[in-house]
Symmetry: C2
Subunit: 488 residues, 2 copies
C-alpha cells in the first residue's frame, strides 16, 4: 500500500512537478518508499492530491530518467531497487520525446485492432466489401508486372510515384501527372500535409464531427483544432472562425463525409472556396468516398471547382477497393507536390512499386471501372440490409440517423440520453462493436452518437450484429419494456 505526505506549495516558484519529484525522491532514497512499491496510477495520484495529471506524469518521468522508478506498460510504476546501476534494465520511458508523450490515447488503434474475439461482429473499422476484391485479375496483373517490369519494381524509385500510375490517375481525373503524388495510403498524405504546413500552435478549422485520423495527425503536429459543422453549411460561422483564428488551412471531407455521411451542396462548395480565396486560406479536401456513391453521383470536388489553386485533394483506393493495398494519392499545385515529395522521400524514400504498376494496369484496362460498379452495388445491398435490420430489431427511436447516399458509414444519434461508450461496453459483451461518436470530435462532444460501417460485413453479419446491438440496448436501459425488443 502507498501512503505518503508530500508538502506542496502552490505559490512557490518551484514548479509543482519539481516539488513532487523532490518529495518522492527523498522518500525513495530514505527508504520511506521501499523498492518494489507500486506508485499510485498517475490519474489517481493527481485526483487525490488535486494536481493536474501532467504534473504527476512529469514528476514520474523525471524520477524514471533518474533511474529511481520504472514503469511497466499496463502494470504501473514501481520504485527501483536502488538508484539504477549501469546494469539495470533500461528505462526507455524517460527517453521519449515531448511530442510523443503528449499524444492522444490513439483512438485509431482501438478501431483497427481486432480485440481477438473471432465471434465479434465489428462495425467499428471503416473498410469496404473486400469480398468484391478481384483476386483472379490481381493474380494475373501481379504476374504480368513481375514478368515484364521486375527491373522497375526492384530498383530505387522516385518519391512522387511510378509514372504509369501518376499518368493513369491523372487521366482518370483529367489532370496532369505532375500534379499527382502517389502515397502509401491516404493517411500518409495527411501526415505529409501536416509536416509541410503546420507549425506547433497553428490552427486548423476542420469538420465537426470529422475524421478521427485527421484529428490525431493534426494534434500530433501541435495544431489547435476548431470545428465547423459542414452539415449546416453555415458560411457566416466559417467566416467567423477564419477571422477569429486565422487557420493555416481548412480541412474538410465534403463528399459522403466520415462520419456523418453528409455531402456539401454545390452552392456551399462555391461559397467555401470563395471564403478560402478571399482570406487566402488553403483547403485540404479529403475525398476517399467520392467514387463510392450509392445513389447519384456527387457534385464536383472542391479541387475541380477551385480556380485559385488553393485546394489540396487527397484520395485513396482503400474505401472502394481494399485498404490493404496502401495506395492513395494527392492532387495539388506542382509546388506542393514537390514539397510533399521531398518530405515523403525523407520519411520513407518512396512507395513500393509492384502494387503501383498493378494498379495502373487495373485502371488502364477498364477493370477498375467495372469493379466500382460491382462494389457500389454490393455496398447498396449492405446499406439497405443495415437500415432494414435496424428498423426490424432496434427499439423505435433508439438510434436515429439519415440514410447514407454514399461512402460506407451510418451515423446515428442515440435516443433517451444514452451514452455511446456505455452502450459499447454492453455491445461488446453481446458480441458487436461500433465506433463511439466522441472520437470524431476535436472537442468534448458526440457522446450520444455512434458510427456504424455498413460496408465491411455481409448482409447476414449485419443483421446478426444489429440483433446483438438490440440486446445491448436492452442491457443498457433496464427500465425499458422487454416486449419491444426481440430476443434472439
Amino acid at each position: 500500500m502507498f501512503s505518503l505526505r508530500i508538502p506542496l506549495k502552490r505559490k512557490s516558484t518551484q514548479p509543482l512537478y519539481e516539488q513532487l519529484r523532490v518529495g518522492l525522491e527523498e522518500a525513495i532514497t530514505t527508504g520511506d518508499l521501499p523498492a518494489g512499491t507500486r506508485l499510485p496510477a498517475e490519474r489517481d495520484f493527481a485526483r487525490q492530491h488535486g494536481l493536474s495529471r501532467t504534473t504527476v506524469t512529469t514528476a514520474y518521468r523525471e524520477l524514471e530518467a533518474r533511474g529511481l522508478v520504472r514503469s511497466h506498460v499496463g502494470r504501473g510504476t514501481f520504485v527501483s531497487s536502488l538508484p539504477e546501476s549501469a546494469h539495470a534494465p533500461f528505462a526507455w520511458r524517460g527517453k521519449i520525446s515531448t511530442a510523443t508523450q503528449r499524444r492522444e490515447a490513439f483512438a485509431m488503434r482501438h478501431l483497427m485492432t481486432n480485440p481477438g474475439r473471432a465471434d465479434l461482429i465489428s462495425f467499428a473499422a471503416g473498410f469496404p466489401a473486400v469480398e468484391c476484391f478481384p483476386v483472379e485479375e490481381f493474380r494475373h496483373l501481379n504476374d504480368y508486372v513481375l514478368k515484364h517490369h521486375a527491373s522497375t519494381i526492384t530498383r530505387l524509385a522516385a518519391a512522387e510515384g511510378q509514372p504509369q500510375l501518376r499518368t493513369m490517375i491523372g487521366r482518370r481525373f483529367n489532370e496532369r501527372a505532375e500534379r499527382i503524388l502517389i502515397l502509401s495510403g491516404a493517411t500518409q498524405g495527411l501526415d505529409l500535409i501536416a509536416r509541410c504546413l503546420l507549425d506547433p500552435g497553428d490552427v486548423v478549422v476542420m469538420d465537426r464531427p470529422g475524421y478521427v485520423g485527421a484529428i490525431q495527425i493534426f494534434r500530433a503536429a501541435g495544431a489547435n483544432l476548431h470545428g465547423w459543422d459542414m452539415r449546416h453549411g453555415d458560411m457566416t460561422e466559417l467566416e467567423d472562425l477564419i477571422l477569429r483564428y486565422r487557420p493555416k488551412f481548412i480541412y474538410t471531407n465534403p463528399t459522403f463525409q466520415n462520419p456523418s455521411g453528409h455531402t456539401l451542396g454545390e452552392r456551399e462548395r462555391r461559397e467555401l472556396l470563395g471564403l478560402a480565396a478571399q482570406y487566402r486560406i488553403p483547403v485540404v479536401e479529403d475525398d476517399p468516398y467520392g467514387e463510392g456513391y450509392l445513389d447519384e453521383a456527387p457534385p464536383n470536388s472542391l479541387y475541380r471547382m477551385d480556380t485559385n489553386d488553393l485546394v489540396i485533394h487527397l484520395s485513396t483506393f482503400a474505401k472502394v477497393l481494399a485498404p490493404g493495398l496502401r495506395l492513395g494519392w494527392i492532387t495539388a499545385a506542382e509546388y506542393i507536390v514537390d514539397q510533399l515529395a521531398l518530405i515523403k522521400q525523407r520519411a520513407t524514400l518512396f512507395t513500393e512499386g509492384l502494387g503501383q504498376l498493378v494498379m495502373a494496369e487495373f485502371i488502364r484496362s477498364g477493370s477498375y471501372d467495372g469493379h466500382l460498379a460491382v462494389i457500389r452495388k454490393e455496398h447498396r445491398i449492405r446499406r439497405d440490409a443495415l437500415l432494414k435490420a435496424m428498423q426490424e430489431h432496434l427499439p423505435p427511436k433508439s438510434l436515429v440517423g439519415a440514410k447514407p447516399a454514399g461512402g460506407i458509414y451510418f451515423w446515428g444519434r442515440l435516443g433517451g440520453g444514452l451514452n455511446s461508450r456505455e452502450l459499447l461496453e454492453k455491445a461488446v459483451a453481446a458480441g458487436v462493436a461500433f465506433a463511439t461518436g466522441d472520437i470524431f470530435y476535436p472537442d468534448d462532444a458526440g457522446h450520444e452518437q455512434l458510427r456504424i460501417c455498413f460496408a465491411s460485413g455481409t448482409p447476414q453479419q449485419i443483421e446478426e450484429g444489429i440483433k446483438r446491438l438490440a440486446r445491448s440496448f436492452e442491457a443498457t436501459t433496464p427500465g425499458r419494456s422487454r416486449s419491444k425488443i426481440p430476443i434472439v
Copy 2:
C-alpha cells in the same frame, strides 16, 4: 534589370530581414519595382548586400505571404501585378511550415533521381545487384499468397506488421516476434525513431562520416549532430562527446559502414555498449549490411551483444535483395516497438501486406539464404572488378581507399587536393557519377572524399565507368601528364 537602394541599419532593433521587407514593400507599392520585375536570386542578393541568405529568404517569404511577390520554382521571384486580389494564383510558398523551410538541400534526392541521361553510369545511389533478384520465385510466391491469403492482404492490418513476417525475422535472428516491428523500408525506421525520441535541440552523436539519410532525418527533427569517427574507435573521444553534449542517443552503423565500409571491432563494440550503459544513452544501430559480407562474417551486432536492452536495431532487405520492395524492420525492447508502432500507425496506418507475406514465405522456404549466397558472390565479383579497374585506369594515388570487406561501397580520398564536387561536374560531363564525400558529414568536411557503389552495375559497366572517371580526372587536373591517363 533590378536596381534599388535600400538603407539597412545593422544596429537597429528592427531585424535586418524586416528592414529589407519594408524597403522592398515600399518600392513595390510606389511602383519603383513595377509588376513583373524579377527580384535577384536570394543568394546573389545576399552576396551583393553583404547579408546572410536567411535574411533575404525570410524577407522574400514575408513579401510572398503578403501577396506582393510570387516565386516560381526554378524561375525566380517576381513582383506581383498588385497586392494580390482574391483571384490571383495562390502563393503556396508563404504557407510552408518553419520546419519544412529550414530543411536541407536534400542530398538524398540528388542521389536517387536519375538525371535523365540513359547513358550515365551512376555509382552514386546505393543499391545491390538487382539482376540477382529471383523473379521466377517471386512470381510463384506472389501468386501463392494472392491465391491463399487475399483476405489477409486486402483488409486492415496492424502497424506492427504481418505476424508471419515478424515470426520469420524473429526466428532468423533468434528473437521473439513481439520485439520486431516491420517497416516500409529502413528509412521509415529512422523517421519513427526521430519522432519517438527527439525533441528540437536534442543532440545526437553519430558516425562521422555517416549515413546521409540519417543526417537529414535527425536534422529535420531539430536535432544538433555531433560526429564520432567510428573508424578510430576512440572511446575517450566518445565519452567526451557524451559528457559534453548529453546526447539523446548514439547513432552508428558499425558493420560495413556507409560510407566508409569500416567494421567496428568486437572490443570496441563492448566498450561502446559499456559507455552507453554507464551514461544510460540509447544506441541506434543501423545495420543494413550485416548479412552482406564479402569475405568473413562480421562480429555480432551491438544489439546481440547488449545486455541492457538499450539498443534499437534497424535493418532492411534493400541492400541484399531489392530496395524496391520497401521492407525493413526494427528489433528493440517491446516498449519501444509499441511506441514506434503507435507513431507508425498515425503516420501510415500499416505496411502493405502482399510483400510481407511473400517475404515471410521466401525466408521460411530457405530461398532467402540461397539468394544471400548468390548475391554475396556477385557483389564480390563487382568489388573486385572495381578495384581492378581503378588500378588499371586511374592515375596512381589519385583515389585511395580500403578494400571493402562487405556492404556495397568503396570510400576513397582524392589525391592532390582535388575537390570531389568539382570532379563530379567533370565526371557527369564524361558520363559517370558518384556520391561526393561532403554529404556524409554532419559538419562541413569530406570535400576530398567520394563514395562509389560497386554493387549496382555489372563488371562491364564498372570498368566503363572507371574509364570515364579517369577522363574526368584528366579534365580536372590539366597540368597532369596525359601519358599516364589512358584515353578511351
